[in-house]
Symmetry: C2
Subunit: 459 residues, 2 copies
């Protein structure tokens, strides 16, 4: 009798689990269907990119983006939509940036450059100096002040093409951009020119954040990025004439912090309202393009999660919160502020998912999780197999959600195909035209499906 | 003693297998490194696309492509490079194609159309008739001759956006293009207008092959494709006015077959020279764009396989043959001829791999193979995992290699990400600019690695 009861119990639990699996397969197919045939992400991104455009923290366009996000979330019929105050740094590009290689008396060739975010201006008349080319910080040490003082340092280490994941290639080259000025200034350089973080040879300079670290104001030097073609040209000219001069003029500047906002919307959970699941991206972008891939895509995909839940009439058990973070690009103040406030309010965040790797064809997700948590998540891969988004790995997640890290919450990042990303990253051609509608939508559907499963099962 | 010998034997075989696995991992990493940092595929494709361009069978450009392929294969220092005679159909687009929706007396709106490959011309003065819109062949039956006779049939079934694999979406809509004219003519239609096979709404009409089947010459009617935007416009106007007229004028024609060639190069196998492994794509393309994705990409990736083998000094055990097939698009004569000659020569083909799904980020391979063969191949997936190209499935392979099918040979197709393909397929924007260098190269590297493993292990 005891065995019979056990067997009946076992059969019931298998039946339940089969029924549940069927339900998930069905709901996920509905999610994809809405995303691909009746979604809003592409239309939203069109507006954000083309009607608002680049939206650097502290700019008028960032304010317009906040207003737009607040309005659109309100249109979604959520339980709550609110703004969270965030003080953000304000750096402005100014009205001109200009550079040339001086090949001889009265002769020069213009090269495409852009100021790096956070950089100071050159003197109003510009900077004219010789150039020393290096590939690494170690070379600075070897060259020493005697070879560097009074010159531009030209950091020309390319992103390695042999690395499959372009984000990895980025991570082994971006120290030039982030810390190049600080390092070179210590050897008396007058400015730095950084090869753009781009695997393609083209004419677009790529901006991005840089820092002077603890360098005193009077030691700070201007920093600009040069396009990859420009870098190749400069390098080749230097190999012919080590004594050529470079001219740089830019009038960017750092202003006092200003007030801005994270934009937040939520659906209250029916069963576990105190367990919060966050999905988000960053609303700010660099100013050269319209920030369609970085990170307009992540913004509209995150909004789409709630939109799809509404369209398929899904009532989440847990509280689902979309956060449009402000100031990822040059300060991360939105992410830091959100996490600080969440901690102060003793909110219980169980899962956070960020999309900030471009609106390309999704390949999977990367997780920061314990072994047990990851084992559970890994068991869901099979749901994503028909959608070609079933590569689940342990690894990084997203910058904005990083401050939520507390040893318990699971953090995750959508991982799209990375091959094209660095052609657009931080540059004038990160525009809506570079977005493929279906690729964007598949990312939104994958994110919605992941949030759905976490909501169903907890972590 | 017996046990000890067995154990030693076991240990040795494990050691061998570990050593072999290490060797494969190493060689595949070299293959990827050459493809991404020192390959020729992108440069070749630049030439084929921009210096030669669209190369429809029987055209001067197809001849130029044959000469180019022959020359480039000869530059690769192979054991043998030769041309194989193929008689190909010759269809020419003519000097004009033009269509408009006639909205009222003296009023009309031009719409983007193109003749379908194989179609006949309209009368020199064009065709002016009313339009009946349908979504399927079944509707023709229901409407019958009384509603169709004397009119254009407008086939307007869109590719379904909800299907993840766009090739599947293509396969459920392309009967309109292939057989629409034959079907509609039987009900007395004067011409057919086909919605372009494109998931995106844009202004590019997509050409492609069509057939009149066994329809007698006097019953044949002109067939043209209309852009997706044009189809939406026409449909919306028809919903307002069922009696509007459409005007079509085109002067394409079918000419007698002409002589052309498959271009073939091979490296003789060192151990099993009679086991032939084929890698290929098709050299012909439609005439509207420059055929960069369809199938310039497959051509240069296939050539790259032999180039990489040379660069890493790999001497294959089996004979590796690259075949640049002629006439996939409108006849498949190259593929048919190659297989027929191979059979006549009693050649033993063990494996054939085709790349003809665009030069996009590779996701895996699809195989026509027996269970045992597939099991063996499936065990290699792990080598492709670090390169994100490890989705091995049973399914189709490629049109050109299809005629080699004999129940023993394994046929395979490279499977790139399919999301963007049908924005470019058979249209004026299938150009070199739509190719991403790294995506193309990753495809070539995956193909080379697959051919390498088949060569090492046989099938």
């Amino acid at each position: 009798m005891k065995y019979i009861i056990q067997i009946i119990f076992l059969i019931q639990s298998i039946q339940l689990s089969i029924a549940q699996e069927k339900k998930h397969v069905y709901n996920i197919s509905k999610i994809y269907d809405v995303a691909l045939t009746n979604g809003k992400s592409y239309e939203w991104l069109d507006y954000l990119s083309n009607q608002i455009g680049g939206r650097l923290s502290g700019s008028l366009n960032a304010d317009r983006a906040v207003k737009w996000g607040f309005k659109e979330l309100n249109n979604l019929d959520l339980d709550k939509v609110f703004l969270e105050d965030v003080m953000v740094p304000k750096w402005v590009r100014g009205t001109f940036e200009y550079a040339s290689i001086i090949t001889g008396p009265g002769m020069s060739i213009n090269v495409p450059i852009c100021s790096l975010g956070g950089s100071i201006a050159t003197p109003a008349s510009g900077l004219r100096a010789q150039v020393i080319e290096v590939k690494s910080f170690e070379e600075l040490e070897v060259l020493g002040m005697k070879n560097i003082k009074g010159k531009f340092v030209f950091f020309n280490r390319p992103m390695p093409a042999g690395i499959i994941d372009t984000f990895e290639a980025y991570s082994v080259t971006r120290d030039q951009r982030s810390n190049g000025a600080e390092r070179a200034a210590k050897y008396g350089a007058v400015g730095v020119i950084i090869r753009s973080m781009n695997l393609k040879l083209d004419d677009y300079p790529h901006t991005g954040n840089m820092s002077y670290g603890k360098l005193p104001n009077k030691m700070r030097i201007p920093a600009a990025a040069i396009s990859t073609n420009g870098a190749e040209l400069l390098s080749s000219m230097l190999s012919l004439n080590k004594n050529l001069y470079f001219y740089l003029k830019q009038d960017c500047k750092n202003l006092p912090d200003v007030k801005s906002y994270n934009v937040i919307g939520e659906i209250k959970g029916s069963d576990f309202p105190n367990e919060i699941i966050v999905v988000g991206g960053h609303l700010d972008s660099w100013d050269l393009g319209d920030g369609a891939h970085d990170d307009g895509a992540g913004i509209v995909q995150s909004m789409e999660v709630l939109n799809i839940f509404n369209k398929i009439s899904y009532k989440p058990k847990r509280t689902i919160r979309v956060v449009l973070y402000m100031n990822e690009e040059n300060g991360l103040r939105g992410g830091i502020t959100y996490a600080k406030n969440a901690k102060n309010k003793k909110e219980n965040h169980v899962f956070a998912l960020e999309s900030d790797a471009g609106g390309f064809s999704p390949r999977g997700f990367s997780f920061e999780a314990s072994d047990n948590q990851f084992k559970k998540i890994k068991s869901w891969e099979t749901y994503f197999h028909p959608y070609l988004t079933d590569r689940f790995t342990l690894g990084g997640s997203g910058a904005d959600i990083g401050p939520l890290r507390n040893g318990k919450i699971v953090l995750a990042g959508l991982r799209p195909d990375s091959q094209r990303y660095f052609e657009y990253h931080h540059t004038a051609n990160d525009t809506f035209e570079a977005i493929n509608k279906r690729e964007l939508e598949l990312g939104a559907a994958a994110m919605t499906s992941m949030i759905y499963l976490v909501d169903q099962h907890g972590l």
